[in-house]
Amino acid sequence: MACPTEVIHRVERLSTRGKSPTAIAFARLRTDRVAVICGSIFLFFVLIAIFAPLLAKLEGQSPTAYHQELVDDYGFPTIGPTSGHWFGVEPRLGRDLFARWVYGSRPSLIVATSVTVITSLLGVVVGLVAGFAGGWTDRILSWVIDFVLSLPYLLFAIAVPAVLLSIFVGPADGASVDQVSRVRFISLILVLSLFGWAGLARLIRGEVLSLREREFIAAARVLGVPTSKVLFKELLPNLVAPIVVSTSMALPSYIVVEAGLTYLGVGLTEPTPSWGVTISAAQSFYRADPLYLWLPVLGITVLVVALSLLGDSVRDAFDPRTRR
């Protein structure tokens, strides 16, 4: 907790020049040590995901190559971490653990980022329209928002992929492994997006309801500014704070949901290297091969904790009242 005089000085320093609220928030964020550290950790994982092929090549291994010669008759690896296999190999199939770990960061980040982007866009547009249009449009959209929010979304997230799978690839036994894993990937993004937008939409609708009565909106309408311009040039800039805050909170939660569903066997599937898949496979080898389990566990825990703390800092930066 910062001492009060320090806070006052900082606020004074920040408010002397005419800065936008967003610029002030980012300036605050830059001075927040937790935010800087957590942001760097997040960046580190993004770099790992982007350069996964390069890192694997550096080690000289591929995430899908089998090394049966490094696994004994009972399926246990005969080697630990070596110069050839930096983190050792997987039990049973003998695939390289380091290569699978760096590639495993990709689906988490790709799924979570796409879902966050889709739900934010959808939530903002629906919230803007519902709040601004009012009347029957608002009533219908609000009902849809409430409806989506009152569905048991974990149960749906399990049920819907089953149906999508049978629509896109036909009978379960006829599909190839690659086809199934591709459909699973898309259906996971679809399902999470379908259920994720409503919370933000409700928030934005509420904000718009109070903003639209303000003078600057009335002025814009009197001047004859077209509605779309009022929405996106006048209202949207005033909604940056709730959008940024909710986005930064959503990202880690979708990483958790992706890994969790994958762990349950209803998200991504082999041969996609993913931390959720690895954790579920590694459970039975937790004594014989702890590294196999702990690599993805640490990966996901560090990434999610860093992102959540960053999200808290972002919220504090945009809304000083919530400061702890």
Binding site: F147, A159, I167, V256
Partner: protein, 325 residues
């Protein structure tokens, strides 16, 4: 007041009906072929047609959903190879793979989920409110910082990861399995204790923060100052006067959380091997058992909607300010 409740009930019913129709359309009218899946590899055209008609899949969609709704309200008859089987209301059909009524499977699984969630709730409400109160009393002190700091970190660790690690490494707890409460309460409790502690202690982190915030606010109120000035002991001021006022917001959050946990206990169930609703849904997913899948989703929606309704109504009764909204 009565009008408000009536409005909320109507909207709750509309949500359940739309969920029913939408999920029916999704599961039963999608171009899937459950009959082919049941029929298996040694299948011929006659057998396939018989399965189709016994499942009612040869009827037009409107009649199918009509039959399903009728089953829920008054029960319905199924004809399999000339044998008529009556399925009592509320009838959700028969499991494709187990041959048992879906209602029976749900009735077996529900107590497991409810036991896990309620037991966990006792743990996290107790520790959450206790830590939150201690923290609020020593605001800014070492204990406060330690409690809040660790609760923020614990809260951000993915729950399923914690549960997996507890299930694998914490071997001092009794083996997890489900025994019905009524047949042997001791076995029931010992089989669930690992799940309760995991669910409870991770959620306690969030409740520590809620109760701390709520407690700080209530300790700053005038009535607390009055109580202190009357010379009441500090302990009594905090636990009798402050805590009572601080609990209302915490209980509201709890009500909303509880609904989410009833439909989200799936990780706890799967990881600790307890056969609740979540595990039933997963099994139905893996075996493509549509009636069971549909039953689980419907039950989940009803639970969520009813819980939200109850929270809203109780809240209106408790806090007259909400009524205006």
């Amino acid at each position: 007041m009565l009008l408000y409740i009536l409005k909320r009930v109507v909207s709750a019913i509309s949500v359940v009906v739309v969920t029913l129709v939408a999920s029916f359309a999704l599961f039963f009218l999608a171009p899937t072929d459950p009959a082919g899946t049941i029929c298996g590899t040694r299948c011929n055209a006659d057998r396939l047609a018989e399965i189709r008609s016994s499942l009612g899949l040869d009827e037009p969609p409107i009649e199918q959903i009509g039959g399903y709704m009728k089953g829920i309200l008054v029960g319905r008859d199924y004809t399999t190879s000339g044998v008529v089987q009556h399925c009592d209301a509320p009838c959700l059909g028969y499991s494709y793979t187990l041959g048992q009524p879906v209602t029976k499977l749900l009735a077996q699984a529900l107590p497991v989920t409810v036991s896990i969630v309620l037991g966990g709730a006792v743990v996290y409400l107790f520790f959450g409110v206790l830590f939150g109160t201690l923290s609020a009393q020593r605001r800014g002190g070492t204990l406060d910082r330690a409690l809040i700091g660790s609760s923020i970190v614990i809260n951000s660790i993915p729950y399923f990861v914690v549960a997996v690690l507890v299930a694998l490494y914490v071997t001092v707890l009794p083996h997890s399995e489900y025994h019905p409460l009524l047949s042997n309460p001791l076995l029931w409790a010992s089989g669930l204790v690992a799940a309760w502690l995991t669910l409870g202690l991770t959620n306690a982190a969030a409740y520590t923060r809620y109760s701390r915030a709520s407690m700080i606010e209530s300790l700053g109120q005038d009535f607390v100052r009055t109580a202190r000035s009357k010379g009441i002991s500090e302990r009594r001021v905090v636990y009798r006067h402050g805590l009572r006022a601080a609990l209302t917001p915490v209980v509201t959050i709890f009500g909303i959380d509880l609904a989410g946990q009833l439909t989200g206990a799936i990780f706890t169930e799967q990881i600790f091997g307890l056969p609740g609703i979540g595990v039933l849904t997963l099994r139905a997913f893996n075996q493509y058992d549509l009636p069971v899948l549909m039953g689980c989703v419907l039950l989940g929606s009803v639970v969520l909607v009813v819980m939200n309704l109850v929270v809203d109504i109780v809240y209106t009764v408790l806090d007259p300010r909400v009524r205006l909204g």
